[in-house]
Symmetry: C2
Subunit: 164 residues, 2 copies
DNA sequence: GGATTTGTTGACCAAAATAGTAAGGTATAG
DNA sequence: CTATACCTTACTATTTTGGTCAACAAATCC
């Protein structure tokens, strides 16, 4: 599993979502709010959320007042879940699990990469969104970001609807 | 720390070197032998070995009968050492340690990537070359490779010289 | 000494992966 | 009907990676 900007955006956006999903009485959090707070290109982030949704990590609502909410509790979503959703590929072997990277045979180090992939996956599975959200340093940054965004619109009426 | 073909080549070549450095009475193992056994482009591998050498992982000899040997014992060279030598960059933060990736401020998840980088580094530091070499599956592949290369030249006279 | 072998270096190139954009479509509130 | 906000596809630009080439330097062999 490789860490790239795509995966970092996904985790950052999900963290933002987790932090703000109880604002305004729990109405869905819109893409544009997240993108603005986290300085992520909105169009790009939109595609990442499509993946997160199709992997069952978030629910979405369309139309005015629409947006996203976590589909599961933050304690039940690991870093690995999020990165996998947008990055697919949990495997660090050259052969992508085909065991054929040297002229259709197993290369000298296949077993090593396979083993390491598993260990790295374990590390990323061991940390979940609630761990991130409750970290003191993370909260501190979030507060600064919220203060920064104070100029934008106030609370709106709360609505209940079914997700898409 | 990201796993890429460059790092995989480095580890594969080092493993091959560790496995063959006692062949022919301990004469240096040539680049072309390693490249051929492991199906790695020789010119490319040459540059990787230059990095491995400058990081003190191998010693080299030029001229006829020249080649490489491990500069330290296989138990004293970790996977992290080898990957770092060719890849530099042990850091998975977006800011590369600058703590400035959101408009010159710390982004929401900096502390997370920083922490994860360390954990992954620990995993890669925990396995060393001797672990790889002594793995049963690795030895099995090595034997097949050696049988494959049986057509090439036999043992030559042993020489002692100082490394480059 | 000269040819040959082997590693060393730097510049260069091609292909792949990644990050980002743009535009049209669909559902929903009001 | 219209504005909002998510959804999807296609495309483009940039960066990174993998790989080549040629000239070079050291050591050996004859
Ligand atoms: S990595 Fe799987 S065969 Fe080489
Ligand atoms: S990753 Fe370091 S500031 Fe964002």
């Amino acid at each position: 599993m490789r860490l790239t900007t795509k995966g970092r955006y996904a985790v950052t956006a999900m963290t933002d979502l987790a932090l703000h999903q109880h604002d305004n009485g729990g109405r869905p959090v819109s893409l544009s709010d997240i993108a603005e707070r986290q300085s992520i290109p909105a169009a790009y982030l939109g595609r990442l959320f499509a993946s997160l949704r199709s992997h069952g990590l978030v629910e979405s609502w369309r139309g005015p007042g629409g947006g996203y909410r976590l589909a599961r509790s933050a304690g039940d979503i690991s870093i690995a879940d999020m990165i996998e959703a947008v990055d697919e590929r949990t495997d660090n072997t050259r052969c992508r699990g085909q065991v054929n990277c040297q002229d259709n045979h197993k290369c000298l180090t296949h077993v090593l990469w396979s083993d390491l992939s598993q260990r790295i996956q374990d590390v990323l599975s061991d940390i979940c969104l609630s761990d991130v959200v409750s970290d003191a340093q993370v909260r501190e940054v979030a507060e600064r970001q919220d203060a920064m965004a104070k100029n934008r619109g106030g609370a709106a009426t709360v609505q209940w609807r079914r997700p898409c």
